[in-house]
């Protein structure tokens, strides 16, 4: 059987084949979960928000006109729902969030900096764990979903230059960490 595209699945769901919605869930659940989890930094909250996102998307399928890609439309729901959850838990998250103007600082107070080389993966995880929600969203959409800065700007409802700033700052932060951990020798 030929693989149905998103619009075909949506049409089928609109005709009353609710179980076909599972196909859409399967298509987006892991990447959407990655984004939500990295924005919220909490697995249980991320699971709840992911469910809410799919239910919201289902309830609003009528309003999806197909002017944009379903993925763009869906990730707007994901991003906004996650931000709402963060708003609810603002006090907890506030300490972790950094304003856009601030320089990202990923220094680990427990890190042994006596020349011991860290695994690249470990460093990457450290950076991602500390990324503020909007940075995490950009990194996920750009590298996992392979979306362009234009598409991401639609999802985040911001300008393309702002998306690029978030992307570049995240790269610069990881670069700084690689340098601090003396991993530059592997580059040559």
């Amino acid at each position: 059987m030929a693989k149905l595209d998103d619009l075909e699945i949506i049409e089928s769901v609109r005709r009353g084949n609710v179980s076909d919605y599972s196909l859409l869930i399967d298509r987006y659940k892991h990447k959407a979960f990655s984004m939500i989890f990295r924005m919220l930094k909490n697995r249980m909250d991320a699971e709840e928000v992911l469910q809410d996102c799919f239910v919201k998307a289902y309830n609003n399928l009528k309003s999806f006109k197909g002017d944009s890609l379903f993925s763009t439309w869906f990730y707007r729901i994901v991003y906004n729902t996650t931000l709402s959850r963060i708003g609810m838990k603002k006090r907890q998250i506030e300490e972790m969030m950094l304003s856009i103007g601030e320089e990202l600082d990923f220094e680990d107070p427990d890190a042994d900096t006596s020349g011991r080389k860290k695994e690249e993966k470990e460093l990457l995880n450290r950076v991602i764990e500390k990324l503020p929600p909007n940075y995490a969203a950009v990194i996920n959409l750009f590298y996992l979903e392979e979306m362009s800065c234009e598409e991401i700007s639609v999802i985040l409802n911001t300008g393309v230059p702002n998306v690029k700033v978030l992307l570049h700052r995240s790269r610069n932060a990881l670069k700084k960490l690689i340098k601090e951990n003396n991993l530059e020798d592997e580059l040559r």
Partner: protein
């Protein structure tokens, strides 16, 4: 000697630099070890992000979402459809039974004490006659048919009234 910064390196990685600037930069880093190192570090950061892993969503997600969707949307609509379908089915059965009883009644002799329904006398031609009655538009609106329609309308109305009272 002009040196380059992270902003430029990011543009290089994103392919936003024109050919001549790119050539100029590549020539520069062949001589400037510091700029080369900074560029390679950023390239490494970019490559690392490309290896970012997908977090697995919980395996019960589909079930939970479909359960929530059907709980919110399906029951009332499904219930209505089922009820209306049942009413239409029952009405059709009543119409057939009325028609059958009417046809059998015509053939019975009231003085005869035989059972009400003599199965040996069952004649399926009444079905044909019943269908024939629909050939003419005016023949459809017999008193029996009108009564059945009223019964159907009252039943549907009662159902919606009860539903409305329940939701309030």
């Amino acid at each position: 000697m002009k040196h380059y910064n992270d902003e430029f390196f990011n543009k290089m990685i994103d392919g936003e630099v024109d050919d001549s600037t790119r050539r100029e930069f590549l020539h520069h880093i062949s001589e400037c070890k510091n700029c080369e190192l900074e560029y390679l570090l950023l390239q490494k950061a970019h490559n690392s992000f490309q290896k970012i892993q997908i977090e697995e969503a919980p395996p019960t997600l589909n079930m939970m979402v479909l359960k929530r969707i059907s709980r919110v949307v399906k029951p009332s609509e499904g219930g209505k459809k089922f009820f209306i379908g049942m009413l239409i089915g029952l009405t059709t059965m009543l119409l057939i039974l009325f028609g059958y009883a009417f046809e059998v009644g015509k053939t019975l002799d009231p003085k005869d004490q035989k059972p009400l329904i003599d199965f040996s006398k069952i004649d399926l031609s009444f079905l044909q006659e019943f269908l024939n009655s629909f050939k003419s538009f005016s023949a459809v609106f017999t008193p029996e048919f009108g009564g059945t329609l009223i019964l159907l309308a009252v039943s549907i109305g009662t159902y919606f009234f009860v539903e409305r009272v329940k939701t309030k």
